[in-house]
């Protein structure tokens, strides 16, 4: 009780300064009566003031293009600001109920002042602003800041450099070479980064671990390792320190290979779980709880979701079907194997594309099960489509405007299938749903190693010296977006929904999580 009063006095002091001369005694009376709720509002107002001060400074520092983008993003983000404001309010009320004194962990996004529709300075991710030198400088500084001084040695997170001539349409994206992995710039043993993370980063950049589910699961396993090896330093709280420890790891992984939407959601979940650890937990208990949470996440969102999706999809597969799949999607393969085990009679056409040729992996898995398959390259898709009865596609992420982000070539297959009136079904777990919006494949994409396109045909390698030719560029896109009118149905663990219902699911999910 005493503590409460002292706090209120402090707050009322600041309130005086903002309101300009309200009666001190009245304030204390009011606060005593209204108790905790007012405390929350006071907290929020304090935070708002701090934010405005910070924004005033930031606006002076921020480069011009960022501000202009923020202004154009204002109307769309006002709705988001409202939503987020409400979520903030709910979250702080829950925390104050727990009696938590710790501040919510600082995330990379600026917090929105509640109950006010201010234009939000939306920070664009750095990986799509590579052509802006100011942004690059900021990124370098951020990586420097995320260093730890161990044994009086300052080690930085290395930054990966661009490789080769970039096509002008994509000069805002990063282009890496597989032959120069980031780990070469690290010393061994690396004091900054946990070895499990280094290994993971190398696996990502070399393409050893590929596919959004595989990457997410590998990430979560690596984090489990990190958490079990973690010890809280004295004078620090686990909930805050662990999150700060994870930040350089995430930056490192991001440099190795840009994070996927599924990984982003997994990281958000972990950070939330960590920051929700109550301070009175002992370290061992806290760690156990976190490991448990991660296990739960994998079990619920990935494994069980796959089972649920397989169950719904099997209803859609009839005997005598000819099913077309593209590339190697772990979920689609799972569905087909399950359907085959249940006794459905169908055959599969696997479509593949250069340079990744992932379809061969899918082909191997399906043939091992005993499913009869055909294999074609993507250029033959309009030839083979008249025989096809259904198209099953996997997704990397589902965007908030209903677009499906998936491996490059997916939109092409959907287009041709639409022209031939063949139904297109997309299978996607809900943890891959993403709040971003995108309408074309240019603004945000990943550029893979351009040397992959080089091939030897008839003893001649035409593009061997492409770097010497001044005007020649090679483009190796990784993702593309499919408009929702090409997709007939999306099968998720929540059921079968049309593509346009994705933002509804996102909203429901957000309210759930908090």
């Amino acid at each position: 009780m005493n503590r409460c009063v002292v706090k209120d006095k402090r707050r009322s002091g600041t309130q005086d300064s903002s309101e300009g001369g309200a009666d001190k005694k009245d304030n204390i009376e009011r606060e005593k009566i209204e108790g905790k709720e007012l405390t929350k509002e006071e907290k929020q107002r304090l935070r708002k003031e701090k934010k405005q001060q910070k924004k005033g400074k930031e606006k002076k520092d921020a480069s011009l293009p960022q501000v202009s983008v923020a202004e154009t993003a204002a109307p769309a983000s006002q709705l988001k600001a409202e939503r987020r404001a409400r979520q903030e309010a709910e979250r702080t009320s829950k925390q104050s109920k727990k009696g938590d004194t710790g501040q919510p962990a600082t995330t990379s996004k600026p917090k929105i002042p509640p109950n006010e529709l201010q234009p939000v300075v939306k920070r664009l991710p750095e990986h799509i602003q590579v052509d802006d030198p100011d942004v690059l400088k900021k990124l370098a500084k951020k990586l420097e800041r995320q260093q730890t001084t161990e044994n009086s040695e300052i080690q930085k997170i290395p930054r990966r450099l661009d490789y080769g001539y970039k096509v002008s349409l994509f000069s805002h994206l990063l282009q890496y070479s597989r032959k120069a992995p980031l780990t070469q710039q690290l010393s061994i043993p690396s004091a900054v980064i946990h070895p499990a993370i280094v290994r993971l980063g190398l696996q990502y950049s070399q393409g050893i671990v590929a596919g959004s589910n595989a990457r997410s699961i590998a990430l979560l396993h690596a984090f489990k390792q990190v958490i079990s090896d973690y010890t809280t330093p004295s004078n620090e709280e686990l909930s805050r320190d662990l999150v700060n420890k994870l930040k350089p790891y995430i930056s490192f992984l991001n440099q190795c290979r840009p994070l996927s939407a599924s990984m982003g959601n997994a990281i958000k979940y972990i950070k939330k779980e960590i920051s929700n650890i109550p301070s009175q937990f002992k370290e061992d208990d806290a760690k156990k709880k976190l490991l448990n949470c991660i296990e739960c996440f994998i079990e619920e969102k990935i494994v069980l979701a796959a089972k649920a999706i397989a169950k719904s999809s099997i209803e859609k597969i009839n005997d005598g079907d000819v099913i077309l799949v593209y590339g190697c999607s772990s979920l689609v393969n799972h569905i087909l194997c399950e359907a085959f085990e249940k006794g459905r009679k169908f055959r599969v056409i696997v479509v593949d594309s250069r340079p990744r040729l992932e379809g061969r992996e899918a082909l191997r898995r399906l043939v091992q099960k005993g499913i009869s398959c055909t294999y074609v390259l993507i250029s033959a898709v309009s030839y083979i489509l008249p025989e096809v009865s259904k198209v099953f596609l996997g997704a990397h992420a589902l965007l908030a405007n209903g677009y499906v982000m998936s491996r490059v070539g997916t939109s092409q297959i959907a287009l041709v299938a639409k022209a031939f009136n063949v139904p297109v079904l997309v299978c996607c777990e809900t943890y891959k749903f993403c709040e971003r919006v995108q309408t074309d494949s240019f603004v945000s994409n990943e550029l893979d190693d351009p040397d992959d396109l080089i091939v030897t045909r008839k003893g001649e390698t035409q593009l061997k010296d492409w770097q010497q030719v001044p005007r020649l560029g090679l483009l190796n896109l990784v993702y593309d977006v499919t408009p929702p009118d090409f997709v007939d149905l999306v099968i998720t663990d929540l059921g079968m929904i049309p593509c346009t219902s994705v933002p509804v699911v996102l909203r429901v999910k957000n309210v759930d999580l908090l």
Binding site: S382, S441, L474
Partner: protein, 333 residues
């Protein structure tokens, strides 16, 4: 010059040509462009006309038809061979008719109506002998040859009418006609070309290196990225193997997808093809291949414009050109 010597020399040449065709089709020999094949065929036919003994136009037509059947059989997918033979046959008919003095209008199929109602020409048997016929036919074939040699240049000359500055043009695979077209435009205009590599043969790579060496800003993309990149493309310019009578195309694998993507984004699709690529086909085929699909059928609705050495046409006009070039009797060799 003794007759038999000439004959063996000729048969040698024909045999060499046939084996070349066969090899070119199976993919091991040098992949020749369709224009080159057309020229060689015509040159060979001119030789045959000059050297083989024949007394009347009918005989000549029989000889040519026989050789023609052999050549078509050697490489069924290379339709320019058959086309050239039909052109030469038409030339022979025309020359014969001119020598006989009949008016040209009776020979040509002016309208669909006449096509249906006329039956009189089948009574011709081309038995009459004219001294000047040989010389006339050879002269006409020479004209045809010069026309063939000039086709690529003629098409390339029209390039500036269709390409403006700072355009992004997409193409697929390798077509010498399109290459010449773009290089000609690049002399005066600056633009950007995106080449789809067209697996599995990846001929797009050759096209890209050749274009970039000429100073054109080029990018190579995989086939899978065609739709992803299409939103930024202003025009799609492609070459083709054959143009069908209904205005459709038989072109390299992947062209149908390209055409669909262009239609979705309302990007104009322009086909550069010399006029000798017109082909008479009985059925509209959607699969035309011996190996895993080498060619695609593209329906005429997806095509915006044909650019040939005699100018630009809409796909709906192709059937008229067909009737001008070939005689209906020669549809079956």
């Amino acid at each position: 010059m003794p007759g038999p010597y000439r004959e063996t020399d000729l048969t040698e040449k024909v045999e060499a040509f046939l084996s070349d065709l066969k090899r070119g089709g199976s993919g091991t020999g040098p992949l020749r462009g369709s224009a080159e094949t057309a020229r060689e065929t015509t040159a060979l036919l001119r030789r045959i006309t000059a050297q083989v003994r024949w007394s009347s136009a009918g005989d000549l037509m029989e000889v040519i038809r026989k050789e023609g059947r052999r050549m078509s059989a050697a490489q069924p997918s290379e339709t320019t061979v058959g086309n050239m033979i039909r052109r030469v046959l038409k030339i022979i008919r025309e020359e014969y008719a001119r020598s006989r003095g009949s008016s040209e209008e009776a020979d040509q199929q002016e309208s669909l109506h006449k096509l249906l109602t006329s039956g009189g020409l089948s009574e011709e048997n081309f038995r009459q002998y004219f001294t000047a016929l040989k010389a006339n036919v050879i002269e006409a074939i020479n004209e045809l040859l010069t026309e063939l040699e000039g086709t690529t240049d003629n098409i390339a000359m029209q390039a500036l009418e269709h390409i403006h500055s700072n355009e992004v043009i997409m193409t697929i695979g390798r077509s010498r006609t399109v290459e010449a077209f773009l290089k000609d435009a690049a002399r005066k205009r600056k633009f950007h070309v995106i080449v789809a590599e067209c697996a599995p043969f990846c001929q797009g790579h050759e096209m890209a290196t050749s274009l970039s060496k000429d100073g054109i800003e080029t990018t190579v993309i995989t086939d899978a990225a065609i739709f992803a990149v299409m939103s930024r493309v202003n025009k799609v310019i492609i070459g083709t193997q054959t143009v069908l009578a209904n205005g459709g195309l038989r072109a390299v694998n992947g062209t149908h997808t390209l055409a669909l993507a262009a239609k979705h984004h309302s990007t104009p699709l322009i086909v550069c093809a010399p006029i000798n690529f017109l082909f008479i086909s009985g059925e509209i085929l959607s699969k035309v291949n011996v190996h895993c699909p080498v060619f695609d059928y593209v329906p005429p609705e997806l095509i915006t414009l044909f650019i040939s050495n005699i100018g630009g046409h809409a796909p709906s006009y192709i059937y008229r050109l067909m009737s001008e070039l070939y005689h209906p009797e020669d549809h079956e060799l």
